[in-house]
Amino acid sequence: MATFLLRRLLIAIPTLLIIATLAFVLLRVTPGGPFDGDKPMIPEIRRSIEARYHLDQPLWQQYLRYLGDLAHGDLGPSFQYRNTSVNELIAQGLPVDIAIGGSALLLALLLGCAIGMLAAVRRNTWLDRLGMSIAMLGISLPVFVIAPVLILVFAIQLRWLPPGDWVAGSWRHMLLPVIALAFPYLASIARLMRASTLEVLASPWIRAARARGLPTHTILLKHALRPALLPVIAFLGPAFAGVVTGSIIIETVFGLPGIGRYFITGALNRDYTVVMGVTVLYGALIIVFNLLADLCQAWLDPRVRLR
């Protein structure tokens, strides 16, 4: 266990380094810089601004400086939002993303498992077919189609829910973004859960449990659920990555004040530090979550050895 954690930590550092380097190189080979406005800037002002952000130094020095700051947890100042650091931008935006993404992941997990299990138990009935067709639809419809359609139906036509915007702590404002974000992962989890439940239900220990005359719900919840969850847990890592990046789209469509919006405008305006900071943050989140998913898997199935 301890060696496992240590090993993962040791892989995480070069991974983050690669992500940061990749982002740095990609941004810097781009034509255009953060201070190329419509109006030409007076050379002296330009030079002093560039000196302030160390943009006048050779690239390798800027790179080393960035890595040094990163090691201290400092993501640098934003170029676009004057007098604001990237850390502050992230601290503002992240709570929104955690609320939306966390709820979406939870919803996808709970509902997806329930639907998948139900479809497996009622295999080849209309219930199974309906559930799996909806799941296929969820996989096929991109988030940016689901979200506007939800807005059109529930906010504009029926007027049940607000079409966007963000009010802290209001579940009505969260409902539509969460559903839109959760739907594709809900669908994938339901499909995975159905397949794994079918496999588990065909196993000898379930037959033995049936032979002992245990009621169906006991068999399902006590004997089948745990092994059937394994592939779903393995999927949670990629699903989390998808939710994190999918929230960029959700934020644009619903006008939420999360970090994704800063990322998009940052990429368009060559706001180097914002783009790199958010990318590194996403990478770190994904690494942590993959680790959690692996630990969870080992806890569910003692046969899984952590290496």
Binding site: L152, V244, T245
Partner: protein, 280 residues
């Protein structure tokens, strides 16, 4: 792959229906712009925001510049399908070579190559492609080479595990005894035997890539106007959602249809070619 697999696919009703639908969409995408009197880029100021109707020829209506939506949607299908197929080809090529080499050679090379795949898995991949397409926005080819170059990871993993089991088989041992060299071994003896799983992977990669390109176009980072992809058409539809919902419906339905069909086809192919979980 041949014969028996095809027979099993033929019995998979949803997959066959999807195959026909896809064929139909491809045919329409190729033919409609050729025979339509309208052009995807030429505005018609007398026909702005025309509702869809049979008379007058604008079956899907017209957009904010009076351009025929049917022609634009079909052009969108062309672009999306082209991107999907080409980028999937790139990712399948890289994935197969990477996975087969790592699995066959094994040892230290294998662990290094797969460690790199593990690392790349943690790279937040949508943000990076967004950055990439901001960089190379003017060069459309680079965008989908980039998509293809990052989406090969799953394929590499699957191919590697398949190679590991193929490696134990007698024909590989026989070839080895005959003195076949490693590159020949991989390309002549391993890869052809991986074809089934590769076909399945490719069909499931295509919809993922199409979604990806649509996403980029939705964010305004994909194709450049007046050319349209399904994603950029959906984005235009979203802008005009309140007043003219039909502008969202036709591209969204076609996008969903293409992806739905690709997914079902991939499922059917997997059932047909992978004997393991047949009947499940």
């Amino acid at each position: 792959m041949k014969g028996e697999g095809w027979m099993r696919l033929r019995r998979h009703r949803a997959a066959m229906l999807s195959l026909w639908m896809l064929g139909l969409v491809v045919l329409a995408a190729l033919l409609v712009p050729l025979f339509s009197p309208y052009h995807y880029a030429v505005p018609d100021w007398d026909a702005i925001f025309g509702e869809p109707r049979w008379q007058g020829g604008h079956v899907f209506g017209t957009d904010n510049l009076g351009r025929d939506m049917l022609v634009r949607v079909m052009w969108g299908c062309r672009i999306s399908l082209l991107v999907g197929v080409l980028a999937s080809l790139v990712s399948v090529l890289i994935g197969v070579m990477w996975g087969a080499t790592a699995g066959y050679v094994g040892g230290r090379l294998d662990s290094t190559m797969m460690r790199l795949v593990d690392i790349l898995y943690s790279v937040p991949f949508i943000p990076l492609v967004i950055v990439l397409s901001v960089l190379f926005g003017r060069n459309f080819l680079l965008v989908f080479v980039a998509i293809g170059a990052v989406s090969w990871l799953d394929i590499a993993r699957i191919v590697r595990s398949q190679t590991l089991s193929l490696k134990q088989r007698e024909f590989i041992e026989a070839a080895h005894a005959l003195g076949v060299r490693t590159p020949t071994m991989i390309f002549r003896h391993l890869v052809p035997n991986l074809l089934g799983i590769v076909v399945v992977c490719a069909t499931l990669t295509i919809p993922a890539v199409i979604l990806f390109e649509a996403l980029l176009s939705f964010l305004g980072l994909g194709v450049h106007p007046p050319l349209a992809s399904l994603g950029s058409l959906v984005a235009e539809g979203v802008v005009n959602l309140q007043s003219h919902p039909y502008m969202l419906i036709s591209p969204a339905v076609l996008l969903a249809l293409i992806i739905y069909c690709c997914n079902y086809l991939g499922d059917g192919l997997r059932d047909a070619l992978d004997p393991r979980d047949r009947g499940a």
